[in-house]
Symmetry: D2
């Protein structure tokens, strides 16, 4: 149930609608747009007679939402969401780039990486301190020490930082150091983690699971948003198909599909999307051309010595070249970069 | 690194090999078979000269294991694993059936379900108290109250019980009530949960993720086993493909493939595997014919009123028919049922 | 549009209905069952008022068929189709086995294969004389010479024969030698070939394409049937998924799904379905347990020297063992073998 | 086996190498580049001692090609292939656009479509006269009459034309009217058709099958090229995955992957790639940004009345907008449009 208030609706009128929704058993989410306030009512059933609300003072229109996600739906915020972190706006006119190594490995490595990232003109430093690894015997990340040195490196270079939280128990640690919380593809349906991430205020980036439909991705966002945290962005990072030429198949079309169905910013990850260093550049261009609000890519001072994901990681020269090219593509479709 | 001891190796000889492995940085897992003790050495590298061990007293042979999983490998326990729970043996000659509703909904429902399950000759009652649901607005399960009434119903009917743990924080509760812990498909790569499940002694059943390869499933088992819990069984419950006639595509071939690669018991789930009540019976027969050690199926006193998964749930008559037919197929391939 | 005639409908009444259907622009297909004659009317539109027909003398009931396939639908022949070839009935109570080498390679090889197949109790010799090969540089088959020596070998051992037709231009040759025409997975949507195969009277077995849905498979059958050839059987031989442990993923559930949606016989191919010799036996059992009317498997006197598909081909001992085991499973589910 | 001749190799030296290759049982394909002549030797085995050739006069270097395709390999023509049709060059610096309706339906429709296509600045008119349809009851195309009126419309507007050939028997007809022969996704492994298309001189565009790997696509090209027709281009038009938000999943990464592995031009088809009109524009931009040499898109004067594929067909305004945007993206990556 979505109630769109008139442009000149008073706070009292808005309150009255909220109260009515609550009386009927709905949880109410409020979104204040430039022109209209929109009230999202989430309830166990959606079969209320909407005429009841359309007749109320200050109400412009009322919609029954049949998609399984409501707060993540484009209807809830037709103007789109801009996630603000520090002085960076994700989902606005300017393309945002997050870059850095797969794993934080040492102070020298992350310092060097941060320098490359900042010089290339990216705004956000990425890097994992807790690593989800398919094998229990692979490098599992540096933990808090990794977060600490990453924070310091980001600060030295005027960058924001994003890092992955693998379990609800790690949330306090991540909140202490990181500006954006990443929920990885393997955890896209870790519903406990999603709920807990919905109770914090820092922005969350949810990566699409390798076998998740776009609808399931939006429902994952709904889990976070239904707990009150609307600072959500989504990320396409490749799905699993029969093709083996690339490690995953980057579903570039998911970018415009999500942008149409939802108001949330959409990030493209050509590093995981292809798993091949030589494919990152063309697929970064493709993601931007398809309408991505940002990119997240892996770059390492010396990719061939990276402890994880080296095969898909750019070297500094490749990263600089990518930044130049994606800026040109962004400009071509009327976007700042 | 696997060291197979001679049949008449003494405890002192075994200890000497263990000490040597530990000195070289290996974690040692010990498996005592009918004829041979096998020592599994898991280390950061696998490039030790195995001749060192082959020369030691009491050693029969020594293998460098190149598969990414070691403890889950068939080589570690060539004779196969039998998971013992109460008086039930899973992985032995007798086919084991786990059955019950998708969700525990009420005392009456679970009591009636337990009666049907026991009368049909199944040994283990299934039912979820914590439900992973794609939408945050769907029924999420009864929680501890559900576990409590399920335990009571199982006990009244002489059944064991299996129930899903969705997060490491729920482990103490599940351990209190349930005989077997189920780790669901969405959590197959929730590595934190897998590790924690490796620290308990109760048996764990891991369901294959809908986009997980057999190798990744075995690596999930490796996570649990590497922490010391060898009471692991695996479950095929359908993978995601392009076909829409069934909700998932049950990869029946994963059953003999896992049985060949690993010593762990393998369970077939034709309910989730197909998502269609009318396909459960033929696919239960197929799973048993392919060599499954057991089945897990959904049955409900009144499936059309089930709060979840009703479309794939058998009614009591269909369940009785299935039990009769899978017994006949099991007997045909030389298996008790 | 399906018109079911009454049990005692006269030929004149049946003719009257046919004439009426033809007047309305329908092409009429007639199926004579034990109790009822069913008339399938296929037209450009399906929005005729069915009351017109229900009022006619001798008509029992009338259905508008909304599935995209009509003649292949179970409704058209509720009793099921039995394809008769020589003294073999496919789709009846008895399990039928087709076996032989992937390719006809020499007179000695096919003679030896035919002997093994006949001794094992199978009824039909399989073997390709025209081979669809992914690479233009692979062995492409012996052509007519291969068909000739295969026919002779089949006759010597009292077997029927099935062989693949790759192109409409090869039809006359295949019709000259083979009892059953096989249309391969890559040609499942070669509509020209399907139509031409619909104009002959010999039985046709259509293999499911590796990315074809069950609905598309039934529509391929509809192409053949709409030209008048109702002697069609279908074959599940594995679909392409992300899993690499087997060459394809054998969709065993397609067997009961097709049996429910259609009246056509359904064959399982565990050789192509798995691509692994060691998986053919368990998956042959699974296919039979799931309700397959027959099996098609690759067997070769010396698989390691086969010119194609050796990795998935049984040796003579494995074939004999498979025959014994599938007979036991067939008996367990009430089927002769 | 690839033999690269020196820049100043004489014709006699080249002939000597060819003769030697032929003596050893190779079929020889010759490619004359700006600097070097390359000889591709295709034989039953590839284990000849290459030193034999390296020692011959005029030979620069010699490579054993281990990929299953040889003529389609980038090594065969490192400089890339430009397919010339009339005054259009496909694979050169300029982006080429093929556009038109799915099916030729009438003289008025194709005339109007041609006008729109030409005004938009595209060079090639697309349209099907023979339509592969999943159902035998769907519109199957106008046949020769369709080709005739399409040819006339193309000529009136100064356009080239491309149309699909579904079966080898249709080749003479297509050759009479069409400038480029399209081999559709369902026929990508119709090896008979591929071979016959290799015997003509007109350019062939092969569309990737919905479950075909990139390697299989290149092997399809190899079938055509091995018969002598090197005027081949390839087309990505979406693969079949679990995602249902789009009809297919357009594998944009296949574009740079093919460009790296092969010298053949690569075309993107965002119409079939997505199956949704509203996704054609962003995915056309993405394909160009990823490096496509051209696009093929469906446009119709009145898409909602199209006899086939209307849901994915642009209207004239959308087509004009797309042309403007892809030109901007092409320019941004240094390509003319």
């Amino acid at each position: 149930m979505l109630v769109v208030m008139q442009q000149d609706a008073t706070e009292a009128q808005i309150r009255a609608v909220i109260d009515r929704l609550v009386d009927l058993g709905f949880t109410v989410h409020r979104s204040t747009g430039v022109l209209h306030t929109v009230l999202g009512g989430v309830g166990p059933v959606d079969d209320i007679d909407i005429a009841v609300f359309e007749a109320m003072a200050g109400v412009k229109e009322c919609h029954r939402i049949v998609s399984p996600y409501k707060l993540a739906s484009r209807f809830f915020r037709p103007q789109g969401t801009i996630v603000k972190v520090g002085n960076v706006e994700i989902g606005g006119p300017k393309l945002v780039v997050m870059a850095g190594p797969c794993s934080v490995e040492s102070e020298e490595q992350i310092e060097e990486a941060a320098r490359i990232v900042a010089e290339g003109g990216a705004q956000i430093l990425r890097g994992g301190a807790f690593k989800p690894r398919t094998s229990p015997y692979s490098f599992q990340g540096m933990g808090e020490e990794g977060l600490k040195i990453m924070r310091a490196a980001a600060d030295r270079h005027g960058l924001l930082m994003i890092s992955e939280v693998m379990d609800a128990s790690q949330l306090p640690l991540l909140l202490k150091y990181s500006d954006i919380l990443q929920i990885g593809a393997r955890n896209m349906q870790n519903f406990n983690l999603l709920r807990e991430a919905g109770k914090v205020s820092k922005p969350v980036m949810i990566k699409r699971g390798i076998a998740a439909t776009v609808e399931e991705l939006l429902l994952a966002a709904e889990y976070v948003m239904s707990e009150g945290n609307y600072n959500v962005m989504l990320c396409e990072r490749g799905i699993r198909t029969f093709e083996t030429a690339t490690r995953n198949t980057m579903d570039v079309s998911a970018i415009p599909v999500v942008k149409k169905l939802s108001h949330l910013p959409m990030i493209g990850d050509p590093s995981h999307g292809t798993g091949r260093r030589d494919m990152v550049l063309p697929m970064a261009r493709a993601a931007v051309a398809a309408g991505a609000d940002g990119l997240i890519v892996e770059v390492h001072p010396d990719p061939d010595r990276a402890l994880s994901d080296g095969a898909q990681t750019l070297n500094p020269g490749q990263f600089a070249e990518m930044m130049a090219q994606v800026r040109a593509v962004a400009a071509a479709i009327g976007r700042a970069a």
